[in-house]
């Protein structure tokens, strides 16, 4: 799994979901929504407010830095719908956690760290982007993750 903090490859790329984060961008960021009526926030951005059901929403970029709020390590390769370029032989355990983003939300994310010894609740974390899989035509599918600073 390679870390891409910015587009550097010559291969074609696409985001794992076009609405999840800005890509390509000089400073890619996760996209959330905020309700103009009640102020409730959602990540990923939602077509309606998940608190009041209102449809008067605005989009905003989430902070790129936060702290680790909860975590675990995924030790076995998930069944489908998991879709990566790994095989049972090449699979390596990956971290999963919630990152507390100040003034925004606690959001769920893969972690660019699979060793429990390096995961501490409260530790500073930063947003990174990585190639989650490579499609048969060579397109790199980009996903977000957080890693300890």
């Amino acid at each position: 799994m390679s870390i891409l903090t910015q587009p550097s490859s010559t291969a074609p790329q696409r985001a794992i979901d076009p609405n999840l984060f800005t890509w390509p961008a000089a400073q890619p960021a996760l996209l959330a929504s905020r309700c103009r009526d009640c102020g409730a926030k959602a990540f990923p951005a939602n077509p309606a407010c998940t608190a009041c059901g209102g449809e008067n929403l605005e989009s905003f970029e989430l902070p790129r830095h936060g702290s680790l709020w909860a975590w675990t390590v995924q030790r076995f390769m998930p069944k489908t719908p998991y879709h990566s370029s790994e095989t049972e032989q090449t699979f390596r355990p990956f971290g999963v956690g919630y990152i507390e983003l100040p003034g925004a939300l606690r959001i769920e994310s893969r972690l660019q760290e699979g060793d429990p010894a390096n995961l501490k609740i409260g530790a500073a974390m930063e947003l990174v982007f990585y190639v989650h899989r490579i499609e048969p035509d060579g397109t790199e599918v980009i996903n977000y993750a957080f890693k300890p600073v």
């Binding site: 794992i16 959330a32 995924q74 030790r75 489908t80 998991y82 769920e108």
Partner: protein
């Protein structure tokens, strides 16, 4: 008016090759009818559900096509609770006097592989490897252990108790005690949870015959009454299964809401409960659900488990039949298994695992994706 449970039936949990989930449901239904001493033709309605075993109403193909209304209910881990809730409402409304509730399932081996779109989530969530309930329980627990100083030994004690109780339950799947060391040293699945701290999808069936309180004595000398039955779903901002975002300020989860509502409806408090069945998808879930359901303060579990307070002879026996860890989790049947066990205990018919002291009031709690919980309070 309360609703009475006058008949109970169960098909052993675990793996039963050569028998469909539906056949296990039929088996449980026949047992429940026999237990109540009632004929299927006298049953005025049915509610039931199954996640992987087919339409519950098809049990009538073997019980007899009487033409009675039968409604299929599918509501994740609360499938059984929701079926019983619908049956209770039907009886309380005066529409019917007596009905059947049935739940069964037969799942493939290994973790469930739900699809994001079923939950209104984007495909990316599953592709990225986040669509696993086990991760949620592990993350919630990791944080809980950090916040309230719960040790791995406490998790192992919960699992050890589950297999001990399972060994005393002829209908349980895992009936061999496992030592603390073996539990702690088994394969790590999702840190801090090892293989033997998790339940697995399995098979089984449970059925109940329920009726009006005032006619219960026609069917049994030991009716058990539903004093409260509540179901709640997730609220905005709470930390729940498959939640992509959580609010910065803590919001009570579905279990807390369902529990509070149940105690209020019954006019009872946690101190009135003699035994409890709490969702134990994994050992930590039981620990956290003890506090979320009001049975202790957060962090008190460390001492309670050390003291054996939740063992069969403890102050508040929990998961007396071995829970999900010893029985596995056939989704459609799992919540009804808790009801079955509680009825058995309140009748005084639980055999080798009978809780002493003539328990009068029992409590059941389920929790599952995507943040849904059902709680019942049952009384003699």
């Amino acid at each position: 008016m309360r609703v009475a449970i006058v008949g109970i039936g169960i098909h052993p949990f675990g793996r039963t090759p050569g028998k469909t989930g539906m056949q296990q449901g039929v088996y449980a239904a026949r047992q429940a009818l026999k237990d109540a001493g009632v004929q299927w033709k006298d049953i005025q309605f049915g509610y039931g559900g199954s996640y992987s075993g087919g339409n519950a109403d098809a049990v009538a193909n073997e019980l007899g096509l009487t033409g009675a209304p039968f409604t299929n209910i599918l509501n994740a881990c609360a499938t059984g609770g929701s079926s019983l809730l619908a049956a209770c409402k039907e009886i309380k409304s005066g529409e019917a006097d007596i009905g059947l509730v049935v739940g069964f399932d037969k799942h493939a081996r290994g973790a469930f592989n739900a699809h994001p779109s079923e939950y209104g989530l984007g495909d990316w969530y599953g592709e990225a490897g986040l669509m696993l309930t086990t991760q949620f329980f592990a993350m919630k627990l990791q944080k809980y252990m950090h916040d309230y100083q719960i040790s791995t030994d406490t998790l192992a004690r919960v699992a050890e108790k589950a297999y001990q109780n399972g060994a005393l339950n002829p209908n349980a799947w895992r009936r061999t005690p496992i030592s603390l060391e073996e539990i702690k040293n088994s394969t790590m699945v999702n840190d801090p949870l090892t293989k033997y701290m998790f339940c697995s999808p399995s098979e089984g069936g449970v059925a109940l015959v329920v009726c009006r309180e005032d006619i219960a004595h026609r069917y049994t000398d030991t009716p058990i009454f539903v004093s409260a039955l509540t179901m709640r779903t997730r609220q905005y901002g709470a930390f729940e299964v498959y939640g992509t975002a959580v609010e910065l300020e803590d919001v009570p989860n579905a279990s807390v809401a369902a529990s509070r509502a149940a105690f209020e409806a019954a006019g009872l408090g946690p101190q009135d409960i003699d035994l409890a069945q709490l969702q134990d998808t994994e050992a930590g879930a039981e620990v956290m659900h003890m506090a979320e359901n009001g049975f202790c303060e957060h962090g008190e579990q460390e001492r309670l488990l050390l003291d054996g307070a939740t063992r069969l002879n403890g102050r508040l026996p929990i998961n007396t039949d071995g829970g999900c860890m010893a029985n596995g989790e056939p989704i459609g049947a799992s919540g009804l298994r808790q009801i079955y066990e509680t009825v058995l205990q309140l009748r005084g018919q639980a055999g080798a695992r009978q809780v002493q002291g003539n328990p009068k009031t029992g409590y059941t709690h389920v929790y599952g994706a995507p943040g849904i919980s059902a709680v019942s309070i049952l009384q003699r």
